[in-house]
């Protein structure tokens, strides 16, 4: 215990006095402060600035949309739907102006229910064709109804009637939870990857600088391994607390200025229970990966070897992250893959946490998941310590997995 606490303190001090570590943390906190204080500052300085009116843009400055094969009623309807564009009727070639940049886009109508949309480079976010389709559909229906004898006013009324509805979630509102779950999963992902790599690099540095030669004769490998991992865990946790804590503090200070922005409330109105789960999954998930990274670091003799050696573990982790993020975006967080992942120790920190945040798994499911994770953590820790014991004294080419396992068995 004595050696563990000394190593723990030394390593933690190493992190907390590391200029990059402190710099990055401070930088993120400053950015958060700037963002979260922005409305207050903007309000203070520019309270009487008139907001820019998008309608005041001169016609000559607007992008041009060409329309071929339609009449003035079509042009007027499109102009109303696209206030940012100058919609012009054109009888000649409409494709060349688009490719030459004279017009932003063009619409060629064959009838009210059939058209082609031309644009030079189709942006991912270009929804003009859909809008045009909507405008033309409405126009077509109005025309059809008027021709069938319905008065234009009545036709307009029919077209503008929508069914009214409201939604009440009896479970979890995934839409609202999505944001902070995503932020938390992402934080977990970043911290585990970053600190895992740091632990691996740290061990490999001791080996390559040969400080290990003295260390192994001064301290028990278990104390070294656990001291390092725990120190990095606390350092990572401290960093998260600084970042999230300052974000929360800055938000609370400026809450009234953010009142109109619903998405901010979504970030910060996190249930306390979820924070506790976050803590549990963060610590266990962090430890299980940090042990693995530490063990891998101990088998590399050069720093250059680290990147390739940690690849398999990083891959598993990224695969888990992808599964979770895909499930989150598709909304089906309880799909069979997610359920399986929420019991596998290497993916459960993210998968189970997501399910808790965005669905409602049974209490026993959560308990089993945490129990498996905790037990695996101990198991991985023991095996990692053994690999570490053997690994730190191996120099030369990175040993093969088979050799390591053999050595561990003999140790």
């Amino acid at each position: 215990m004595g050696q563990f606490s000394k190593i723990f303190k030394f390593e933690l001090k190493g992190y907390l006095t590391n200029k990059v570590f402190v710099g990055v943390t401070a930088f993120i906190m400053v950015v958060l402060a700037v963002v979260l204080f922005f409305p207050r500052v903007a309000d203070f300085f520019g309270g009487d600035d008139e907001p820019d009116d998008p309608g005041t843009v001169e016609p000559g400055e607007r992008d041009v949309m060409l329309v071929k094969g339609g009449d003035e009623s079509v042009r007027a309807a499109l102009q109303e739907a696209f206030p940012d564009y100058e919609v012009r009727l054109e009888d000649g070639d409409i494709q060349t102006p688009v490719t030459q940049g004279e017009a932003e886009c063009a619409v060629e109508l064959r009838s009210l229910s059939d058209f082609t949309y031309y644009v030079d480079n189709l942006s991912m976010y270009d929804t003009n064709a859909d809008t045009v389709s909507g405008v033309l559909t409405e126009l077509y229906r109005l025309t059809a109804m008027t021709e069938a004898g319905v008065s234009p006013e009545r036709a307009q009324e029919i077209m503008s009637t929508f069914t009214q509805y409201e939604v009440q979630s009896l479970g979890v509102d995934q839409g609202q939870n999505f944001f902070y779950t995503y932020i938390m999963i992402f934080a977990l992902y970043m911290v585990i990857l970053l600190y895992g790599q740091m632990v691996a690099t740290n061990v490999a540095t001791e080996k390559s600088s040969r400080a290990m030669e003295v260390l192994v004769t001064s301290a028990r490998p278990n104390a070294m391994m656990f001291g390092k991992v725990m120190a990095s865990c606390l350092a990572g946790f401290t960093q998260l607390v600084c970042i999230f804590g300052s974000a929360l503090l800055f938000y609370k200070l400026n809450e009234s200025y953010w009142a109109g922005v619903g998405i901010m409330g979504m970030f910060f109105d996190m249930p306390v229970a979820l924070l506790v789960y976050m803590l549990v999954f963060f610590i266990l998930g962090f430890l299980i990966y940090a042990f693995l990274y530490g063990a891998i670091g101990s088998t590399a003799s050069k720093l250059e070897d680290i990147n390739t050696s940690v690849m398999p573990v990083t891959m598993i982790f990224i695969a888990g992250f992808m599964v979770v993020v895909m499930a989150m975006t598709s909304g089906s967080v309880d799909n069979p893959l997610m359920v399986a992942c929420s019991y596998i120790p290497f993916t459960s920190p993210m998968a189970m946490f997501t399910r808790i945040a965005m669905s409602h798994p049974a209490a026993y499911e959560i308990a089993i998941s945490i129990a498996i994770l905790a037990a695996s953590c101990v198991g991985v820790g023991v095996v990692a310590a053994k690999i570490y014991r053997v690994g730190v004294l191996l120099y030369g080419a990175s040993p093969k997995l088979k050799d390591i396992l053999k050595a561990v068995k003999n140790a």
């Binding site: 000394k6 030394f10 040969r210 400080a211 030669e213 003295v214 004769t217 001064s218 003999n410």
Partner: protein, 296 residues
Amino acid sequence: MLLELRDIHKSFGEKKVLTGVSFKAESGKAFGLLGRNGAGKTTSIRILMDVFPANSGEVLLDGKPIDYKKVGIGYLPEERGLYPKKKIIDQLIYFAQLKGMKTPDAVKSIDQWLTRLGMTEYRNKRLDTLSKGNQQKIQLVTALAHDPEIVILDEPFSGLDPVNAMLLKDVVKEEIAKGKIVLFSSHQMSYIEEFCDSIAIINKGVVALTGDLYDIKREYPRDKLAIRSTQREKIAAAFPGKTSVAENGELILKLSDPGEKMAVMQRLSREFDIDEVRVFEPSLNDIFVEYAGEQE
């Protein structure tokens, strides 16, 4: 105190590294552990320091299994290196703490050693700003600051300039005089000969020779004559197949029997122009080459 390794066996997987290694080192004396690269010196030292256990055999101190909690061991590894990016005083304190020292005691002892080695100006510098020789002196502090009963120095003189080598010699002599067990491992035989009272030569995991260096030299078969003469070729022709030329130009004549010594000496001085003839006493280098060399 008497440190004893008794019948140590160690293998890594299929590979046997040590087979029945035994030797003894006494306090107040220096012990030389010799062997070629890969002979098993470092493995012996690591077992002695409890980095990993032996498959069988014992490490004894005064006849009892050594208690690592009570006995301090200082180690200067052959592969030197500490934390390059950290402040020297910080890491020295860290290593002293790991050896069980309280921080104030550690600081006091480290400052004494830094003064003794003339390194006080580097106290608050980063290690990688120092020259290699100075880094080595810092590493020596990690081996000695906690005042260990057993001091293990692996190739301590490599990389030191003559002035620093002299300083280190003095320090080692002081440690020996303090009644510590000093264990040397080196390829530089001249240093071993200068310091060590007893030695062990390890070859391929087996102790090929161990004991008091003076006795070893005495017991070495006195069946060779060293001859200085201008007529080396004539002498060689007179004793066909029995002569060789040593590095210093002396002619070495192997006798069929040590008892012939007087007769051969008389014959030599009668028949040839001889500057000097004496019984050949091997240097440690010769002994080492004989026991650890040829069997490749």
